[in-house]
Assembly symmetry: C2
Homo-oligomer: 384 residues x 2
């Protein structure tokens, strides 16, 4: 990652004939910078001005469960509070300050992710693990698309990523495969964009030739919502425990979303050109839509979810076997107790039917660190 | 606005057969809600939990310059600080809490705007003035597009709005006019989307039949940037006082951006199908691009900017007169001292050449309240 970044920066420096000092200036080095990964690359400093605050702590996602989960900052010159901590492993983390008991985002940090209704400051620690989470040199477009969902009875939003080159004149006859990428509970159509870094991951993998150029469609999986709550559109109550309601979304995926995409984008409108993946609730949507529509997808990736053993589940998996598929990829963290058990149950059922699959077990639990990693991994296996 | 909103909510209630209590629940009424416009519709309450805070104030954009610009909240039950203030005039405002001297966004409020590198909590007071700033029933798509700019020598981002219906099969042969909408200093390609509510304004005007369905292209006017800083792409130094650099962007608009849009979207690729408008620095870009390329745009709207009298300015305006145009619309606030003077200078030059124009003078200064209002006004005059 650093090598690519430096190559990129140096290319800039050459193109625009600027020197190292100018580079340092426009990279934003300043005494009030926060967060600042220090030159030694083994520590990170957080800073917040607060002349009248009494106690300022840092709450970081990587500190949870440690001996000192909310370390105190020290007040220094000019009323700037600061703390320097060991740099955590390469990954994306979120954090906030706690100023006299109130959670505060880092006003010096423009990198923010939205998790449902909360906005969180982000620390990206560069390294091999996170190298595909930063912006690539070749970037695909991202569109918020409003489409009618006759199945659900409302107009709804989804995000559609088109890969770099999609609009090149040279590719004007080319059709592309599509990954349908589904969020979990509490998420919305922007969850994979914001927390999941899906555009950056796909851009980087495609640029490196590690993934096929593909579209990525990220719908809203909450059938009671037209769109993410940022749009402030009234919602209808939705009862996931009511089977008729619970399945509305997966029917809309098959009958509203896929037809919309296939009539509006240059895509491969057949099973071999469709993949579906989803995390947690979206993993349930993945097993449900493939179980109910076994002829739609050749690539099936339920993440941090699995499937409880049942007669219905078995019948659905046999239907998938009969229809044929190219990849069944199950990702789960071994600390994600229930999902881990359910993933093993799903694997057991696949075993019993002699169906090929990958059970990709990582450390960790029900986290975006895992979901980004799963996308970064299974996306390289699609459409090949 | 309230009438439309209630019609919309009631339509929901009918469609989904839900009652008033359920409606109240899903509208999110709760004791910790913030901001809450009270039932009497003449006051608004802000709340923030903070058991250990000593002094909590509210800083609101509508309170600047008043006798008490940062009123103190009172601590109540459960450590919830609150304050109830008279409801300001219908408009969009931004605010933050100041907790023991530190500025804090409202964690209970998902409505956030980004102004450059700062994220701000938003209060939208509904009313006639702001009725087009909320989400419409018929919504256009919004795409982040990465395009090559040979003129500037980098790959760059712009936002492209396509109106509701653009993808309807019934409109598949229809071509649309395009508004090129330019931001000011400190802004980027998302400024009109976030602070300017451009999508909502155009959606609402088009839905009401008050504006022609049009595309809206919002490029990044900082020639040193590839994109908004949220993408964390290194920048090159840029000197606006160097004329060769200062004009790069307007040449890229004419030679890179317009050709890209006209070869990738179904648009009217002639002068009568192009409008350009911009605020402050973007107003300068508007007068510069129309002065340098008098055959490109029939609709010209410099906002909060104007043009200093000079031989070059006069020659450019005469060029525009010779080429012909349909609308020259100058918007400015009478408290925006310098821009007001410059707008009158521009109007004076137009007068001297017997060129038709509108000088739309409002109260207020160099503010997004004015720029939203100008867009809401001049957009109804375009392409007619």
């Amino acid at each position: 990652m650093r090598k690519i970044l430096w190559t990129f920066i140096m290319a800039f420096a050459l193109i625009f004939a600027i020197n190292a000092q100018e580079l340092a200036n426009f990279m934003g080095a300043s005494s009030a910078a926060s967060p600042e990964i220090n030159a030694s690359n083994d520590s990170v400093t957080f800073r917040i001005p607060g002349n009248y605050a009494t106690v300022v702590k840092l709450s970081g996602s990587w500190l949870r469960g440690t001996a000192n989960p909310q370390p105190e900052l020290q007040k220094g010159e000019g009323g700037i509070w600061s703390i320097t901590l060991p740099l955590p492993e390469p990954e994306i983390y979120t954090y906030s300050f706690i100023v006299d008991g109130v959670s505060v985002n880092d006003a010096a940090n423009i990198f923010v992710q939205r998790d449902g209704t909360r906005y969180l400051s982000v620390l990206l620690v560069p390294g091999e693990r996170s190298e595909n989470y930063s912006v690539a040199n070749q970037r695909g477009n991202l569109e918020r698309v409003w489409y009618d969902s006759p199945t659900i009875g409302i107009n709804r939003a989804m995000m559609v990523y088109t890969p770099y080159g999609y609009r090149d004149r040279a590719n004007s006859k080319k059709t592309y495969p599509v990954l349908y990428l589904l969020h979990g509970g509490g998420g919305d159509e922007e969850a994979w964009v914001s927390m999941g870094r899906a555009c950056e991951i796909l851009d980087n993998l495609i640029e490196k030739g590690m993934a096929e150029p593909m579209l990525c469609v990220m719908p809203n999986g909450n059938a009671g919502q037209q769109a993410a709550r940022i749009h402030q559109i009234p919602e209808r109550p939705f009862d996931r425990s009511d089977p008729a309601q619970a399945n509305l979304y997966i029917h809309s995926l098959a009958n509203d979303i896929i037809p919309y995409i296939e009539s509006n984008y240059r895509v491969i409108a057949r099973k071999s050109g469709r993949a579906v993946a989803g995390l947690s609730m979206g993993g349930g949507h993945t097993t449900a839509v493939t179980g109910n529509y076994p002829n739609l997808f050749d690539y099936i990736c339920p993440l941090s979810s699995g499937m409880a053993e049942s007669d219905e589940a078995k019948a659905q998996l046999q239907g998938i076997k009969k229809a044929g598929y190219k990849l069944y990829w199950i990702g789960v963290g071994d600390e994600d107790t229930r999902a881990y058990e359910r993933s093993k149950e799903l694997a057991g059922m696949l075993d019993s039917f002699d169906m090929e699959y990958t059970l990709y077990v990582t450390g960790g639990g029900h986290t975006w660190a895992n979901w980004r990693n799963y996308l970064d991994t299974f996306a390289t296996l699609l459409f090949k």
